[in-house]
Symmetry: C2
Subunit: 435 residues, 2 copies
């Protein structure tokens, strides 16, 4: 049984039921192919309903039936129903301080194209948007060349506070952005694009291309949730970089809050006597476990690991080498930072009682050292017995988390309502069921 | 238009649609009577569907049509459809450190009976449960005498960590309870009760009486949400007493977390160099703005306001008098506590971006002084512009919040699915619609 939840705002009609059940079938198939009988079992729908739903999804090009009939079985029963990866992709773009990344993800959750470019953080907004639009166009075109035929939309992850409804980046301190209408700026460059014809039109949309902008941490959280164990409906994600970001999933939904500003974890005031933060406040969580705190604790200013011109991965590898060889200063720095990470994380665990706490960014990179420290701090700080059933894991998405989440967000309308995908062929008269 | 959300786990069927629409009509009517045309407008359902739904709710005794026809209108159109308060009540019980409280609430949200008793916190578990069961029975019987004919269930608010699925109070430090199977203990006393016959049987229930146990702060949060502006789907509730408690509502649902332990706000570690908390940790939020912190700051040990034998309300009145007459020490104490309250509250506002922050318990009682201080702290600590649209309000439920929330929780199955209420009369053949 899946933990799918179907949300309806206000009134319900029978079309909603059909759409919800189509979405449920797609959701179940995302964890792997099934026979029709297996689908009926996993969705608790009748076999007749499943047959009808599968028929419609085949017509819409979202699933196919394949595989040899099981020995002894007759006709369709042994065939596997599987999602089709080629038909629909969602594209995710991440605009970060020093790179742009874009990926095309299919409905199975497989990455079909992934591109990354360095980016000058001191560039003008217009330049950055130009570069981003070209990158998105490049990814869409490569996905089309590789067989995709429909574009569900484009999701964009921005490193700041985003007004999701308007797509305006309100504040992005590390880019120096304030009130940048990113959605409109990107659409102006992308909308007259020749692949408009492949964009899936959505209800109430005034233009063919769907484009949404959200905070990078919210989208990374969505990616962690989408790729997590399906039973983990309550999740907290904390990611370490120059800042500390994160997001909260409650009962299968990323918490966005009233105005989309939820998940602002980096500035949790953990210590009134703490250091001054870049935001002007004192003792913010990221001053105790952000990347700069780690590097300052671990090395002198002239140490190679504090050379910002070097690749971060390389510098983290160096720190790992030192720690593995028992270097006291490195180990002490890891200890300080790991405990500070656990301190702030305990607040989140006490507040929302997640099933899983996912550590991302540099926290995951140094996970072999940081994870036990975090667990230790949580054990002493969480009020609920046995951490309220929470376990701590390391993200496997790495730097791709935000772009992956943006692509999931772009696919969401299709995953929620597969009827937005046009029919490719009319259903044949259904064969008589053989069992 | 209402912001109702309908949740379904997994598959959907057409009965679910009917139930969701019945629930929607009840929800709209909770804000006041409507004509059928008004209901159709507010639910966006067709007038024919509304007529059918209203007919069923009349049959189930949950609504009635009344009022004179509007001048000039013909027959039914001018009649008002209103919820019936008598038919179904939910009972809420709060077990607190020094009192027990129970109320009967009807589907309109009106309190029909309210009783409160002092209670000896050093009593044995069995004694407390005996007293609580007698109080519940008393409230049910009074509600029946006053016209209620069906009992939706009983909700119980306990001051501690509760395993909601089993109804076991895992830890309730102020009662000295550990692993108390409160649900079973209460059911053993209540189940063979003569008013079993009036209990509404629910699906999959092995006994007629529905009884659920939850944390007092979660239930108080539910009450604040249920009585708030219907547009406020994201809410944070913080209540001050000996401890500091609270709860979080995200998109219309109280956040319970994976194991029901969410909302543990009192032990947010706000100051590593802070005072030792009753929980053994250092610098918990409640050490900075719990009642004891206020009283210690405001008065010497021999001051009357620190006399625990006196009524708390009376002592708070005394502090208010002193503050209003400009007493420096009292005002300084309010300033310290109000800022500490705002400090912790800013974490919650940054994390979940609520539409409204509700202050309850003694925070509300001293609201005229504390509220501006909280607003001031939030303004300097919240990362989102304009507090992310959050406003700060004072609870109007006072000490009744937890019992009210418990009663709402007891009514929830009826509010979610009005078809659990038995039919009292068969629907007549529908009249022809006159418009």
């Amino acid at each position: 049984m899946t933990g799918a939840t179907w949300h309806l705002s206000g009134r319900a009609d029978h079309g909603d039921v059909r759409r919800a059940n189509l979405a449920l079938v797609v959701r179940v198939l995302r964890s792997g192919p099934r026979t029709r009988a297996g689908l009926a079992h996993d969705t608790t729908l009748t076999k007749a309903t499943v047959s009808s739903l599968v028929g419609e999804l085949v017509d819409r090009g979202l699933v196919r039936e394949s595989g040899p009939a099981t020995a002894g079985a007759v006709g369709r029963p042994g065939q596997q129903v599987a999602l089709v990866g080629e038909r629909v992709v969602g594209v995710g773009l991440e605009i970060n301080v020093d790179y742009l990344a874009a990926i095309a993800l299919d409905v199975r959750g497989d990455t079909r194209v992934a591109l990354r470019q360095t980016h000058d953080p001191s560039a003008q907004v217009e330049q950055t948007v130009d570069q981003a639009a070209r990158l998105v166009a490049d990814v869409v075109e490569r996905a089309l060349v590789r067989g995709a035929s429909l574009l569900a939309g484009v999701g964009v992850a921005a490193p700041g506070l985003v007004d999701v409804a308007s797509g305006v980046v309100r504040v992005a301190p590390n880019l120096g952005w304030r009130d940048v209408p990113l959605r409109d700026l990107l659409l102006r460059r992308l909308d007259p694009h020749p692949w408009d014809a492949v964009a899936i039109p959505h209800a109430r949309a005034s233009r063919p291309l769907q484009l949404l902008v959200d905070n990078e941490a919210n989208l990374a959280t969505l990616a962690e949730y989408a790729t997590s164990d399906t039973a983990d409906r309550d999740l907290v994600y904390v990611t370490g970089g120059v800042g500390v970001g994160g997001g909260i999933v409650v009962n299968g939904h990323v918490v966005r809050g009233h105005a989309g500003f939820a998940g602002e974890v980096g500035h949790l005031p953990v210590d009134p006597a703490g250091e001054r933060c870049g935001c002007g406040r004192r003792g913010c969580w990221e001053t105790t476990c952000g990347l700069e705190a780690l590097l300052r604790l671990a090395a002198d200013p002239d140490d190679i690991v504090r050379d910002h011109d070097r690749d971060l991965d390389e510098r983290l590898d160096l720190l790992l080498d030192r720690a593995r060889s028992g270097d006291t200063r490195t180990l002490q720095a890891f200890d300080r930072v790991g405990r500070a990470l656990g301190h702030g994380a305990s607040m989140l665990v006490n507040l929302v009682n997640p099933r899983v706490l996912v550590l991302g960014g540099y926290f995951a990179r140094l996970g072999e050292f940081l994870l036990p420290l975090v667990e230790d701090e949580l054990a002493s700080r969480v009020v609920a017995p046995d951490l309220g059933g929470c376990r701590v894991t390391l993200s496997r998405l790495g730097l791709a988390a935000a772009a992956t989440g943006a692509a999931y967000a772009a696919l969401q309308p299709v995953l929620d309502d597969p009827t937005v995908v046009p029919i490719v062929r009319a259903s044949p008269v259904p064969e008589k069921e053989t069992q």
